[in-house]
């Protein structure tokens, strides 16, 4: 497609400037050159390439909806879940863990593999 200037309908002032452009360009002042650029183009390269603040809205929105997910969890705990079973108490868990180690549960890569039987503690 043929090239089209950004400003198509020139004012009288702009038409006079386009006439002046046909003469020597060193006769043009800096403001006139800028005006000629603005007639031809909508934005400068700097304006065209500049970043936006869009990431703030996006990230803020993402975090907001992740927060909503947490609120759903709170609702579930309050209105839906029953009490935590007694098998999750500290005493039960420690007894359960010892029993699993005594039985040598998952000795290759699992829980028993993580326990140091000589020092009687978890491996570092």
């Amino acid at each position: 497609l043929p090239e089209v200037a950004f400003v198509r309908d020139l004012s009288a002032q702009q038409r006079a400037l386009k006439e002046k452009e046909k003469a020597s360009w060193s006769a043009l002042s800096a403001e006139e050159k800028v005006e000629l650029y603005r007639i031809k183009f909508n934005e400068t390269y700097a304006e065209m390439n500049k970043g936006t603040n869009e990431w703030k809205t996006i990230l803020g929105g993402v975090l907001f909806f992740l927060g909503l997910t947490g609120i759903i969890l709170i609702w579930q705990k309050h209105f839906m879940y029953g009490p935590v079973p007694h098998t999750f108490s500290e005493e039960w868990l420690s007894a359960q863990t010892k029993r699993m180690l005594d039985m040598r549960v998952n000795p290759v890569q699992g829980i028993t593999a993580q326990w140091d039987f000589d020092k009687n503690e978890w491996k570092k």
């Binding site: 603005r38 869009e54 929105g61 927060g67 969890l73 420690s94 993580q114």
Partner: protein, 78 residues
């Protein structure tokens, strides 16, 4: 992360360009992101931290974390 770095650099370029083009007859209208972006970001972040810090500390949800390194075994026989 790359668009983040690009936006940060362009903000510097935009500042320089604004000082250079003093007679700019075009005022680039601030977008929604310019007006409210920071507020949305901070609001979302604070809401997120508030909700999830409550969930992870005070809500008494059983997360089922591994006993390895955490639980001290105690006698079960008897």
């Amino acid at each position: 992360m790359f668009p983040l770095a690009r936006a940060a650099q362009s903000l510097v370029a935009r500042g320089i360009q604004h000082t250079a083009v003093r007679g700019a007859h075009r005022k680039h209208e601030p977008t929604f992101h310019d007006k409210y972006g920071t507020m949305v970001l901070l609001g979302g972040a604070s809401m997120f931290t508030a909700v999830w810090s409550y969930v992870f500390t005070s809500l008494n949800v059983e997360w089922g974390i591994s006993p390895v390194g955490r639980v001290t075994p105690s006698e079960w026989r008897g």
